[in-house]
């Protein structure tokens, strides 16, 4: 009984807030066209769930996640390769330092106008902005990970007479893996945020666009349903990537007890 109560505890606050909201919209803001009650939003979400057209929940979600994943693949992939190069070669890092520091601070969404000019409306434009946004954290974190390999391990590889190639494949890359998973987790979060932003601002597809359309056609219940759903999707993705990161940490020899340090 006490066990069950403690499991219910995290739900107390959300239920309280939702109840208050339900009461507020029903009583005080009854005549509002801009607000919907949580129950109405839930109803709208349920309808979307069973809608089998192109505006259905799964297809729209699939579009956003697919585009985010593809953009992440391109951006993070390039960031990983270039980050490795810059991390392993101090000369390359010195040569590229200025370029990186000039381009990196550009907010990725500021690229939307340019991307629209080049790619028009649609998937390719969204992909390019997501790829740009995820490229930088991956580049910087990969570079840092390559430099933070335990120096003692590099001495061990020297003492064992490893070639540069063996040192990279057997020592440096495996030692980097836990930090690369941290970088990937950050990249996934950035990709989702940027994908939804681009859809709200420019690309007439995906969850961001669906939410915008609901808002513009005065359907606050549907808008709130999408908002809630985007939150749920983000939460699930965060849990999955956190698990992956912890798995990598343990698999690569970190002790199980300090996984909480990487979960931060």
């Amino acid at each position: 009984m006490a066990d069950m109560l403690s499991r219910l505890r995290p739900w107390v606050f959300p239920v309280l807030v939702l109840s208050l909201l339900e009461w507020y919209v029903r009583s005080v803001a009854d005549s509002s066209d801009a607000l919907a009650t949580p129950l109405q939003a839930a109803r709208a979400w349920w309808d979307l769930l069973w809608l089998s057209s192109d505006e259905g929940l799964w297809r729209v979600t699939g579009f956003t996640l697919g585009t985010a994943a593809l953009g992440l693949g391109m951006g993070a992939g390039c960031g990983l390769l270039l980050g490795l190069l810059l991390g392993l070669s101090p000369r390359a890092a010195r040569m590229s330092f200025l370029t990186v520091e000039v381009l990196r601070p550009i907010p990725s969404v500021a690229l939307i106008p340019l991307a629209m000019l080049v790619f028009g409306f649609g998937v390719r434009m969204e992909l390019s902005v997501v790829a740009f946004a995820t490229f930088w954290p991956m580049l910087i974190l990969t570079q840092a990970a390559a430099r933070q390999v335990e120096p003692r391990l590099l001495e061990v590889s020297a003492a064992l007479g490893l070639t540069a190639w063996q040192r990279t494949w057997w020592i440096v890359l495996p030692a980097m893996v836990p930090r690369l998973f941290v970088a990937l987790r950050l990249g996934v979060a950035v990709a989702l945020v940027v994908a939804v932003t681009v859809e709200i601002a420019a690309n007439p597809n995906g969850m961001g666009y669906a939410m915008m359309i609901a808002q513009q056609s005065m359907e606050p219940a549907r808008m709130l349903a999408w908002l809630f759903w985007i939150g749920v999707v983000g939460m699930v993705i965060n849990v999955v990537t956190l698990r992956a990161q912890q798995w990598a940490h343990v698999r690569m020899g970190g002790s199980v007890t300090d996984t909480h340090r990487v979960s931060a």
């Binding site: 335990e150 003692r152 391990l153 001495e155 061990v156 590889s157 020297a158 003492a159 064992l160 007479g161 490893l162 063996q166 057997w170 020592i171 495996p174 030692a175 893996v177 698999r251 690569m252 020899g253 970190g254 002790s255």
Partner: protein
Amino acid sequence: MALLSFEGLGIHLGGREILSPTSFEVARGEFVCIIGPSGCGKTTLLRAAAGLVQPSAGAIFRQGNKVLRPSREVAFVFQDYTRALLPWRTVQGNVMLALEAAQVPVAQRAARVQQVLKTVNLQAHQHKFPAQLSGGMQQRVQIARCLAQSPDVLMMDEPFGALDAMTREALQDELARLVREQGLTVLFVTHDLEEAIYLGDRVIALRTNPTPQRPSVAAMIDVPIAHPRDHLGVKEHPEFLRLRRELYHYLGHG
């Protein structure tokens, strides 16, 4: 011919003279301990002998060849075993690394790993990861990896310094047995006087802040106690007491 010879070895690091010109030789099969207070350059000397640091003056020769870079014939046991092991490889995998590096034929690797693990009593733990082992066991893994190299010389940098007293004594005895059985040549750095006398055939004491008038090597003393040695016997041996007093004086306490 001496296996290792140090000829006027001097090392400067960051504008400071760590080692003033130092000369001595190590014969094959000899166990030489280097002791001295912190900062006397004993670790630097060992690293130079392994080719991990370049000397500023003089040279080191191994079997008549100048040491310019690390070699697989020299195995190096680091003090910080936690950092020196690959945490993503099992005990077996860590030992295997030495064989992979030396390009030992794949067919021979497994048998060689088993043989080495047996000599350090780690067969039962071979599928564990380093993080699952105690400090003493982790250090044994590192020693096993070094033995797998079949080295000419084993360089050990305070290998037991971070272990508790019981484990340290057990590993000292294990090392002494290995050295006797396999006829290893060992250069062993420690700051523990008793450990140096217990293990060494010869003890070299270094001093801090060497000058041309006061060279790095403060004393070089043979240990005339027969092998095999045991902790109780050696520590009551009159020679042990005499050497300890003498070295204590050289290390600047007297």
